[in-house]
C-alpha cells in the first residue's frame, strides 16, 4: 500500500478549502451553515453544520464523480485492493442491493445462505431474482447458523448451472466465515459471480491475522459497512468491485435508488475512516483483538457462559472465525440471550449489539477501553449470581430450514389477505418476520408458515425480542397468499 497516497483524504480536504473560502450560499440546504436552525446548530456544533452542504463544482457529485470524489474512490480502491470502489450513503443495505441488482434480473437465480440480512431478500423483491438457498450448517449447542458447507455450495451450483451469482456472508454477525477462496474458485469455474456481504468484515482489510477478505479472495463485489467497525458515521459504507464487473453499469444501478443529495458529512467520514485504517489499522485491530481475547478469557472463567472463538473452527461450516467478535452463549445459565441483553441495558446501563435465543454479541472496536470491558465482565458475573436458573424449557436450536414455495417478489406482490398468526399454520407468507437485531428473517415472502416458525415467533415474543416485518405493527396478523 502506498502510504503517501493513503495520507490523502480528497473529500475532507475539499471541504476544508470550501470552508475557508466563505462562499455565499444561495443553494440548498436551507439551514445555510446552521444559521437557519439554531437549536440544531447548538446541539451538533457549528463546524458540523458548516460542512453539511450539497454537491457543487469544487466538491464533485456522487452520482457522476469527476474530481475529488473520483480521486477518493481511487485511493479507497487501492486501500481495499479493489478495481473500483463506490462511496455509499444509503447504508450497507444499499450496497447489498446494488450487488444483487447489478447481477440479477427478473427470473435470474442467485445462490445464497438463508441466514442473510433482510436487505438481501429485499433486493430479491425489487429485482425479481430467485433465491436458491444453501442450508448453512448449524451448531446445535450454540443454536447459531454457521457458514455454507462447501459440499452444499457445490451441489447448488451443479444443480443450478444457470444461476448468475453466489452471495456469501463474510463473516456472519457472529464472526463465522465460509471457505471463501474455494467458493470463488467453484463459482468462477461455472461462470457465476461472487457477491460478499462484508457488513461485519471491514477490519479484514486492515488488521493482521484476520480471515481472508473478499477482494483478497478474488470475489467480484463486496459490501463493506465502514460504519460498523471502521469508524465512519452511521449509514456510510463502501461497495467494492473486482475486475470482472462493469463498474459503469453498477453506478447506473446505484443511481436508481441512491439519493441525489449525498451527505458530505457521511462522505468525509468515509474518507477519513479509510485514511485512519490505512495508516493505523494494524495497531487498532491488534488492540481490539487483545481486548476481545481478554474479555473472552475472563468471561469463560466466570463459568456458565461460553464466549466462543477459534476452537469452533472445523475447516468447513466454520472455515475461519473473526476474533474481534465477542459472542457469548448464555443458555447454560438458564437465560436466553435476549434476556441477558435486556438485563444488561435495563439494570446495568450497558448496551450490547444484540441478543438472540441463545447468545449475546458485544461489538469491540477502536473506541473501547479496558475500563468498559471490566464493567461488562463484572455485570455478566452479577447476572449469573443473581439470575442463574435451570436450563429446562429453553428453546435450543435457531436455524429453521425454510420451505420456499414462491420467489419473494411473486409472493410479496401476489394476491394476499391478512389472517391471525395463530391461524396461519400451513399458509404461504407474503411478508417478512424477523427479530431485530440481528435482522435475519425467521420467515420471508414466499415461504410456508410451519410449526417450527410459529414456535420460534411465540418464543421470541415471550422472551422480549423485538419482532418486525409485518404490516401489523403488533405482529399479531400476517398477510398470506390467497388460494
Amino acid at each position: 500500500m502506498d502510504k503517501f497516497l493513503q495520507e490523502k483524504a480528497p473529500i475532507f480536504e475539499a471541504l476544508k478549502r470550501y470552508k475557508s473560502n466563505r462562499i455565499v450560499r444561495f443553494d440548498v440546504p436551507g439551514h445555510k451553515g446552521g444559521r437557519g436552525n439554531r437549536e440544531l446548530t447548538n446541539f451538533l456544533g457549528q463546524d458540523c453544520l458548516t460542512v453539511d452542504v450539497n454537491s457543487m463544482k469544487p466538491l464533485d457529485n456522487l452520482s457522476h464523480p469527476t474530481s475529488v470524489i473520483k480521486e477518493a474512490e481511487k485511493i479507497a480502491s487501492e486501500a481495499f485492493g479493489s478495481k473500483n470502489t463506490f462511496f455509499i450513503v444509503n447504508g450497507t443495505t444499499a450496497a447489498v442491493q446494488a450487488m444483487i441488482m447489478s447481477t440479477c434480473k427478473t427470473g435470474d437465480k442467485i445462490i445464497m445462505p438463508r441466514n442473510v440480512h433482510r436487505s438481501a431478500i429485499n433486493a430479491l423483491i425489487i429485482s425479481g431474482a430467485i433465491p436458491v438457498y444453501v442450508n448453512p450448517g448449524v451448531d446445535k449447542k450454540l443454536g447459531i447458523s454457521l457458514g455454507m458447507p462447501l459440499s452444499h455450495v457445490k451441489e447448488a451450483i451443479l444443480k443450478n448451472k444457470d444461476a448468475k451469482a453466489v452471495l456469501v456472508n463474510n463473516p456472519t454477525y457472529y464472526g463465522i466465515c465460509s471457505n471463501l477462496d474455494k467458493i470463488v474458485e467453484m463459482a468462477h469455474e461455472n461462470n457465476m459471480l461472487v457477491l460478499v456481504d462484508e457488513a461485519h468484515g471491514t477490519h479484514f482489510y486492515f488488521g493482521d491475522d484476520m480471515p481472508i477478505s473478499a477482494m483478497e479472495a478474488n470475489a467480484d463485489m463486496a459490501a463493506v459497512s465502514m460504519h460498523k467497525t471502521g469508524g465512519s458515521l452511521t449509514q456510510s459504507s463502501f461497495l467494492l468491485c473486482g475486475k470482472n464487473v462493469n463498474s459503469n453499469y453498477v453506478r447506473q444501478i446505484i443511481n436508481l435508488t441512491q439519493t441525489t443529495s449525498a451527505s458530505y458529512l457521511l462522505l468525509a467520514s468515509l474518507d477519513l475512516a479509510r485514511k485512519n485504517l490505512s495508516l493505523n489499522g494494524k495497531d487498532i485491530f491488534k488492540r481490539t483483538m487483545d481486548l476481545a481475547q481478554y474479555a473472552r478469557e475472563e468471561i469463560n472463567n466466570l463459568g456458565g457462559y461460553y464466549a466462543f472463538s477459534k476452537e469452533i473452527i472445523d475447516g468447513d461450516k466454520v472455515f475461519d472465525f473473526d476474533e474481534t467478535k465477542l459472542s457469548i452463549h448464555t443458555l447454560d445459565i438458564g437465560l436466553a440471550g435476549i434476556e441477558v441483553y435486556d438485563i444488561l441495558r435495563d439494570e446495568y446501563g450497558i448496551q450490547i449489539e444484540f441478543g438472540d435465543i441463545g447468545n449475546i454479541l458485544a461489538i469491540i472496536s477502536a473506541g473501547d477501553r479496558i475500563l468498559e470491558i471490566e464493567r461488562l465482565i463484572s455485570a455478566l458475573s452479577e447476572i449469573k449470581r443473581l439470575y442463574e436458573k435451570d436450563k429446562i424449557g429453553m428453546l435450543e436450536s435457531e436455524y429453521i430450514d425454510p420451505e420456499v414455495v414462491l420467489p419473494p417478489q411473486r409472493a410479496f406482490y401476489g394476491s394476499k389477505k391478512p389472517i391471525s398468526i395463530d391461524n396461519s399454520l400451513g399458509g404461504i407468507s407474503a411478508e417478512f418476520i424477523m427479530a431485530y437485531p440481528p435482522g435475519i428473517p425467521i420467515l420471508a415472502p414466499g415461504e410456508r408458515i410451519t410449526r417450527n416458525v410459529l414456535d420460534y415467533i411465540y418464543y421470541a415474543k415471550e422472551k422480549g425480542s423485538l419482532l418486525t416485518g409485518t404490516q401489523d405493527m403488533k405482529i399479531e396478523n400476517i398477510y398470506v397468499l390467497e388460494g
Binding site: S381, E382, L386
Partner: protein
C-alpha cells in the same frame, strides 16, 4: 508573583487556593498527578486537576470514612480498601490493633509512589505488615472475591474518570458477594449540592439500595471539596450504623481523633431535608 490553583466546582463557580510552590507534576497512564504546597492548607494532591486532599483538612474525610464503620462493628478483622492511594484511609485503619489484614487496591501505582514521596502525613502506614497493596482495577479485583471481607471502603475519585466503574451496580453487587454475611460497605458518596455531583450521588445511592438491605447516608464538612458538604454511604447486610453503634466499646479504645466522636457519629446521619428528598427522588 501570584500563583493560584483553581478548581471549577461548576462552570460558574471556581475555588482557588494560593500556591506557594509546585512540588510535583507528572502524568501516569491514567491521569495527571500534581502536588502543591500552600500556606493555608499545607501540601495538597490533585488528580486531573481535581482536589483529592490537603494536609490541613484530610483528617475529616479519613476519620469519617473509617471510624463510622469501625465503631459500628469493632470486631472487623479483614478490610478491603479500594482506591485511597494517598494512604490516609489505611493509616486510620492501622490504628485498630484488632484488624488483622488490610488489602488496598489502587488502580494507579504512580499515585501511591508520589504520595509516599510527597505526602508522608497520609502515606506513612502503607508499610504496616498487615497491609498488602494491589495495583489493578478495583472492579476486577472485587469480582474475584467471595465471602472474604468484613468491611469494604471505597475511597475513590469522582465518577467521571478512572473511578467511574466504582459507582456502578455491577460493582456494588460484586462487593456484596465479596463481603461476609455481616459485611459493611462504606463509600465516598459525592456532594448533594451542585447538580453534577448531586446527580452522581443520587444514582450511586439508588444502585446501592438495589443491592444492600441496609443503606444509610451520612455527612461531613470538608472545606476543600465542592460546596464543602460531603456525603458518605453506609451499606450493610446486618448492621444498622446507629442502632448497632458500640459507643462504650469504641470509646474504651481511647483513640484520639480530631473530627470523629460517637456523638457526631449519630448526628452525622441526620440529613437536611433537601438531601433526604434528593435521595428519595428518581434519577434524572
Amino acid at each position: 508573583m501570584e500563583l493560584w490553583y483553581t478548581e471549577e466546582h461548576t462552570d460558574d463557580v471556581h475555588f482557588s487556593i494560593k500556591v506557594d510552590r509546585l512540588l510535583y507534576s507528572g502524568e501516569s497512564e491514567l491521569q495527571r498527578i500534581d502536588v502543591f504546597h500552600s500556606k493555608e492548607f499545607g501540601r495538597f494532591l490533585t488528580l486531573d486537576g481535581l482536589m483529592m486532599l490537603t494536609e490541613k483538612d484530610e483528617f475529616i474525610y479519613h476519620d469519617m470514612i473509617v471510624h463510622v464503620p469501625m465503631a459500628t462493628n469493632p470486631d472487623i478483622e479483614k478490610v478491603l480498601v479500594i482506591g485511597g492511594g494517598d494512604g490516609g484511609t489505611v493509616r486510620e485503619l492501622t490504628r485498630y490493633q484488632t484488624i488483622k489484614k488490610i488489602d488496598m487496591v489502587e488502580i494507579d501505582e504512580k499515585v501511591v509512589e508520589v504520595c509516599r514521596s510527597y505526602l508522608p502525613q497520609t502515606a506513612e502506614k502503607l508499610d504496616d505488615p498487615r497491609v498488602e497493596l494491589f495495583f489493578e482495577d478495583g472492579l476486577k479485583f472485587v469480582r474475584k472475591k467471595k465471602d472474604e471481607y468484613h468491611l469494604i471502603i471505597v475511597d475513590s475519585t469522582d465518577p467521571f474518570g478512572p473511578g467511574e466503574g466504582l459507582f456502578t451496580k455491577e460493582f456494588y453487587g460484586n462487593c456484596y458477594k465479596a463481603l461476609k454475611e455481616d459485611g459493611i460497605l462504606v463509600n465516598q458518596h459525592e456532594s448533594p449540592y451542585y447538580f453534577n455531583y448531586a446527580n452522581s450521588m443520587r444514582r450511586a445511592h439508588g444502585r446501592i439500595k438495589e443491592v444492600f438491605p441496609i443503606c444509610k447516608v451520612y455527612q461531613a464538612h470538608i472545606p476543600t471539596y465542592p460546596s464543602g458538604h460531603w456525603l458518605f454511604g453506609f451499606a450493610s447486610k446486618t448492621f444498622d450504623p446507629i442502632e448497632d453503634l458500640k459507643e462504650d466499646r469504641w470509646n474504651s479504645l481511647d483513640l484520639k481523633t480530631k473530627y470523629y466522636n460517637t456523638e457526631l457519629h449519630k448526628g452525622s446521619f441526620a440529613l437536611p431535608n433537601y438531601v433526604k428528598e434528593l435521595l428519595e427522588s428518581e434519577d434524572e
